[in-house]
Amino acid sequence: MRHVISLLIENESGALSRVSGLFSARGYNIESLTVAPTEDASMSRMTIVTTGSDDIIEQITKQLNKLVEVVKVVDISEAAHIERELMLTKVRATGKDREEMKRMADIFRARIIDVTDTSYVIELTGNQAKLDAFISAIDPALVLETVRSGVCGVGRGDRILKV
């Protein structure tokens, strides 16, 4: 089962490697991991997308909680939550493809944020499925490069992860 784990961690050097080291040492999967400081600069928030049986997910959250610098851990996928990911795609945009790319961007409500004579950079946010759908909707031969941020997640409504 796919799970989205959010955690708050002290913004110290080495904190990221403590988390990633834990996953590799114990053989847990990381599908994506994002991290950046929160509104309180002394703390970072991480979103980790992982897969595993219920037993493994229980161990993952317990092991994360055990790290001395981890302040709080929540499996946000246990209840209603929102996931978003950012993707930047540089595509070839010449001749008839130029108009086609513009149209596809509009359909997916993406934005073209860089324009040259031969290329566009298309910015798209959404959940993983939407980003995947966009990639499969366009001609792969036109894709010059793609960069994805990994998933950010937040619980809906009253479910708040804060100290």
Binding site: I9, E10, S13, G14, S17, R18, G21, A25, D55, E58, Q59, K62, Q63, N65, K66, V68, E69, V70, V71, V163
Partner: protein
């Protein structure tokens, strides 16, 4: 008061009431050694190899309730310490390791004696720190001691660059430390404890299974009281020996791979199992699927939530300090008139005693050749069962744990989790320094002892009257045993050729050496050794080369699938 970083380090150790630091100097810690030189509160024990420094500090901690402290230099000093740190980590021993580091400006430049100590040790410490500013030393060391001894204990490493130990700042030792990200649970959940007590009272085939947590939490007294109130059978794991008096009738011996028949059968066929500070590891329950085949309710008390439901599903988890939780259980029992049904318990005991009557620890003694089990039994007799016994890793470790009956906690020091050969002698050094009047015996083998034999020199310098009982069978005995049983008797590289004359070697270091070849000389040699109150005596027992450790549960098998003796093969 303005002090240098190095002086602050030493002042912090004084504030933490550290009496011994085990270490080895080098370039990156020269300022710290200079500060050590100018005071006499913290005594330094100069070992011959950094690995032994960490093991000795670990042995010191295991034999007391204090945090062990080691001090090493950067680069090879730190890498040599890693085995010691990992050993302590696997057994949750409270320790602070201070390592020197190259100056901050040189970090990342591939400087002389530079390694990424914080990176290398990260997976085998409870936590570690790189101190980049002299003003952070005092709070960091305060945190290190706090982390090491609270919650589930463990080693904490503080890496101090040379310039940071040279810089000066105002010193004030923080009185308290609080970390928003670290708040270990102490009190167990009342409702869960009530549920557990209810289950225990209703049990038909109850069993108590306890581990190293009981020793670490200093909860042996509470455990003993609870066990006697309930009248249940109890087993202590290798790490938990001495948690409950081994000579008591309710005690069934050790469980697991080389545990007793009765302990394993009672674990397996219990209907309610109370696990206290133990972690159901592979050497204890064998195959977890086989263990789960028999339905039973499990109550698991542990300070570390991640130990619960890790290898087996638990019905009543209780997270908390063992001492507090056991005291609460006792309180609830005292307030409750109900007691386990004596008839049901009686028929369970009848079954347990039937298992016990198999006498699985019996061995065939000999007049011709020394049996290792016989040496341990004599050691137990000669020391009145009250020595601190350290061991290395292998057959001798199992024999010592099986045949020396530990009635008190912190008398048995061994590397249970990591299984580190070479810990025995440094553990004995730490234990002897911490307990100057105590009888300290190091049970070892000719292979293990050579992994830190250089420490005989340290023992001479610090006049440590340790008694080394070398069970010398000229083989890597446990390797040989597995090769015999599971690898078609192909003894690949398990025979040790060209061994030294250990008695003479001990003499060369300035100690007393004895070589014992006949069973009739065993007791006399032990008595002579322990009569020499001020000497280290190296007893080199030439034992039966073919002796194996039984009973045995083969790796991957279930607890009830035991080989009881050579006749079962």
């Amino acid at each position: 008061m303005v002090l240098s970083g190095a002086e602050i380090v030493i002042r912090c150790l004084q504030e933490e009431k550290v009496d011994y630091v085990f270490g080895y100097p080098g370039g990156a810690v020269l300022y710290i050694y200079d500060a050590l030189f100018n005071q006499d509160k913290v005594r330094h024990v100069l070992v011959r190899h950094e690995q032994a420094a960490v093991h000795a500090a670990d042995g010191y901690a295991r034999s007391t309730e204090n945090v062990g402290v080691a001090l090493v230099t950067s680069g090879p000093g730190a890498t040599n310490a890693v085995t010691g740190i990992a050993t302590a980590y696997c057994d949750s021993i409270p320790m602070v390791i201070i390592s020197g580091q190259v100056p901050t400006a040189a970090i990342g430049q591939d400087a002389f004696q530079e390694v990424d100590t914080v990176g290398i040790t990260r997976p085998c410490v409870k936590h570690n720190f790189l101190v980049k500013d002299v003003r952070d030393i005092a709070t960091t060391i305060k945190k290190a001691f706090y982390l090491a001894k609270t919650g589930r204990p463990g080693p904490v490493l503080v890496d101090i660059p040379k310039d940071v130990s040279m810089h000066k700042c105002e010193f004030e030792y923080p009185k308290e430390v609080s970390m928003r990200s670290y708040n270990p649970v102490v009190k167990g959940h009342q409702g869960q404890i009530r549920k557990a007590v209810q289950l225990l009272l209703e049990a038909k085939r109850p069993m108590i299974y306890t581990g190293g947590g009981v020793i670490l939490a200093n909860a042996a007294e509470q455990l003993t009281k609870l066990t006697r109130m309930l009248g249940f059978p109890i087993t202590n794991t290798l790490m938990g020996l001495g948690g409950y008096p081994a000579s008591d009738r309710q005690y069934l011996g050790m469980p697991g791979m080389h545990g007793t028949y009765e302990a394993n059968m009672a674990m397996h066929y219990s209907d309610v199992l109370l696990a206290v500070g133990a972690r159901f590891d592979d050497r204890v329950i064998g195959n977890p699927d086989h263990f789960a085949e028999e339905p039973r309710k499990i109550i698991h008390v542990d300070i570390d939530p991640s130990s619960i439901s890790k290898r087996v599903r638990v019905d009543v988890p209780i997270v908390g300090d063992l001492k507090e939780v056991l005291e609460e259980m006792i309180r609830q029992l005292e307030a409750n008139a109900a007691r386990p049904n004596p008839d049901t318990l009686g028929s369970w005991w009848k079954q347990v005693d039937e298992w016990r009557s198999r006498e699985c620890m019996k061995y065939k003694n000999s007049d011709e050749i020394i049996k290792p089990q016989f040496v341990i039994q004599k050691l137990w007799e000669v020391t009145g069962g009250d020595a601190i016994v350290t061991s290395d890793v292998g057959q001798h470790q199992m024999w010592a744990s099986q045949y020396y009956r530990f009635d008190k906690p912190r008398r048995w020091l061994n590397s249970g989790g990591l299984g580190t050969m070479g810990v025995g002698l440094p553990y004995a050094m730490g234990a002897q320094l911490a307990n100057p009047g105590a009888q300290v015996a190091c049970v070892t083998g000719e292979a293990s002892i050579q992994m830190n034999i250089q420490e005989l020199s340290t023992c001479k310098q610090f006049r440590l009257p340790i008694k080394i009982c070398n069970l010398n069978n000229r083989y890597l005995g446990m390797v040989r045993q597995w090769q015999q049983l599971f690898h078609g008797e192909r003894y690949s590289e398990s025979y040790m050729d060209s061994l030294p004359d250990f008695a003479k070697l001990a003499e060369a270091y300035g100690h007393v050496g004895l070589k014992i070849e006949r069973p009739s000389d065993v007791e006399g040699a032990l008595r002579e050794a322990f009569a020499r109150k001020n000497d280290l005596v190296f007893l080199d027992f030439q034992i039966d080369q073919t002796e194996n450790v039984y009973p045995m549960v083969q790796g991957g098998k279930g607890l009830t699938e035991m080989i009881l003796s050579a006749e079962d093969l």
